[in-house]
Point group: C2
Chain length 281, copies 2
DNA sequence: GGACATTACGCCATCCGTAACTATC
DNA sequence: GATAGTTACGGATGGCGTAATGTCC
């Protein structure tokens, strides 16, 4: 009995699609197909049948799906037992990342957030004041494992009507910019990108959500991580501002996990964080 | 959640011993220790404590043990579903091996035994009349996987009072032998070992159990696979007959699994067969 | 000293992702 | 042609066994 294969099949059954299951499980779609078929081969049965472009459960597949639900309920009971005695989990990162976590309601029992700038966050890590940290660069901090959480892009956005044509980086300074407070990651990267440190004629706010709202209302051009505005780009409330001499820069996010964190907890938190930063919301 | 680790812990908890769990699971003892400790590390908890030479469950360990029982019950329910639609499993082998299986009551729903001599068994395999076969040699039969089931020894045994001193193979023919019917594996190997084909003055039976009983009653010397009489050797009802010019010969048993057999079923059957032939009963 | 548990190391199986392919609409 | 599923291959991880070591009676 392979719980891993069963969980993949269960997700496929629940969503009625291999592709959807792959997305939800954050694995590739061929991996899902493979495991489902292996489960079938192991027992010499058919659980899923191709139906046109999609799939369909067999009668046995439906029965197994139903019973598997009970199994995972019991598995959760055991996991709760095993995780019952944990101190609050402390997550640190820059304001823009932490605000995403709070917005996505990643707030199980006993999670504490520490929004700081990057230097302060690293200092907290070294002082062993954090269990997890999210930073936009890879650094060696002793006692922490570092892994790539997501790959984002730095982009310029504005309300669709406000997007100037044929712009360059240098010309940006003549436009109204929406900028964040000095010391914030967003402001620092913007400064490096444009090659400027002073932003006269800019609207300044220390709230990412306010900044987005200002851009949406046509108040100016905002420089931000693409995923934080992807939903607005999708529904047309915001548009990308393309520059002749600028290609969107990669903006990785790295998750740092303290060595003191039990592995299962780290894995669970990692999955939740990947889910938050992978969704375009 | 790792079902494998949980099952190992569950067995340890049930038996109260790492070593006993290793034996029951047919894995090495370090592997058990490793998995139990990994389970603990994964969740940052303690489930098992060393207590003198043995171990002791913590309160959490007891709770997890209890809940794990329910989980495995549900897992069994699902396995039954997945295995519900199987044709009867057909197992073939020589009489001495099949009789061990029957004696050990390996007879789940729909198992059919085919006791034949080795040539007939191979013929049945080629005719696709068998799902599993047990043979004392390794042979390439297309459509079958072959794996070593156990390593046994061919030995001479007799009632303790009847064991002659300073015997040789040649001198055996002057002793009363208990032999099995012509064509049986036991008889063939005995012939090869002694270098004789005719056994005058021998007691002949076609029942392994009768043969053992005859030896136990002091009727003569019996040549057999050691594991079939290990229990009697242990409690002194029988004794090994040592010969100056004979070292016990290895008697391997190979399990043949048809390629048509679903993997989980093959695995399960393999475990059951290993259990039968590993025990000295 | 013996029984049991732990640690270290090398090997094999499993599972993933990428890429190329097939089938249905 | 686009979307969903399948097949093939190379690389990382996990779990095993063997062997050596530690620890308690």
């Amino acid at each position: 009995m392979n719980l891993h294969q069963l969980r993949i099949f269960y997700t496929v059954a629940q969503l009625g699609s291999m592709t959807a299951a792959a997305k939800q499980l954050y694995i590739s779609q061929p991996a899902v197909t493979k495991q489902v078929h292996l489960l079938e081969e192991n027992y010499g049965v058919t659980l899923v049948e191709r139906s046109g472009r999609g799939i369909k459960l067999t009668a046995l597949g439906k029965a197994v799906y139903q019973q598997a639900g009970k199994l995972f309920d019991q598995a959760r009971t055991i996991e709760r037992l095993l995780q019952s005695s944990h101190a609050p989990v402390r997550i640190g990162g820059t304001q823009i990342t932490i605000s995403r976590l709070i917005a996505a309601d990643v707030a199980g029992p006993g999670i504490r957030y520490q929004a700081q700038n990057t230097q302060q966050t690293v200092a907290l890590m070294k002082a062993q004041q954090l269990d997890f940290a999210i930073l936009p660069f890879r650094a060696a901090v002793s006692g922490f494992d570092c892994l790539l959480l997501t790959q984002d892009q730095w982009v310029f956005v504005a309300a669709p009507q406000q997007v100037p044509a044929d712009l360059t980086l240098a010309a940006l300074l003549n436009q109204t910019l929406i900028v964040r407070e000095p010391g914030s990651e967003t402001r620092v990267v913007l400064g490096q990108t444009i090659g400027a440190t002073v932003f006269s004629d800019a609207i300044e706010t220390n709230s990412p959500l306010d900044a987005i709202r200002l851009a949406e209302n046509g108040q100016g051009i905002y420089f931000t991580a693409r995923s934080s505005v992807q939903a607005l780009l999708d529904n047309g409330k915001l548009a990308l501002v393309t520059l002749r001499d600028y290609q969107p820069t990669a903006r990785p996010l790295y998750l740092y996990v303290s060595a003191g964190v039990p592995r299962a907890l780290g894995e669970k938190m990692k999955q939740r964080l990947i889910a938050v930063f992978a969704t375009s919301n």
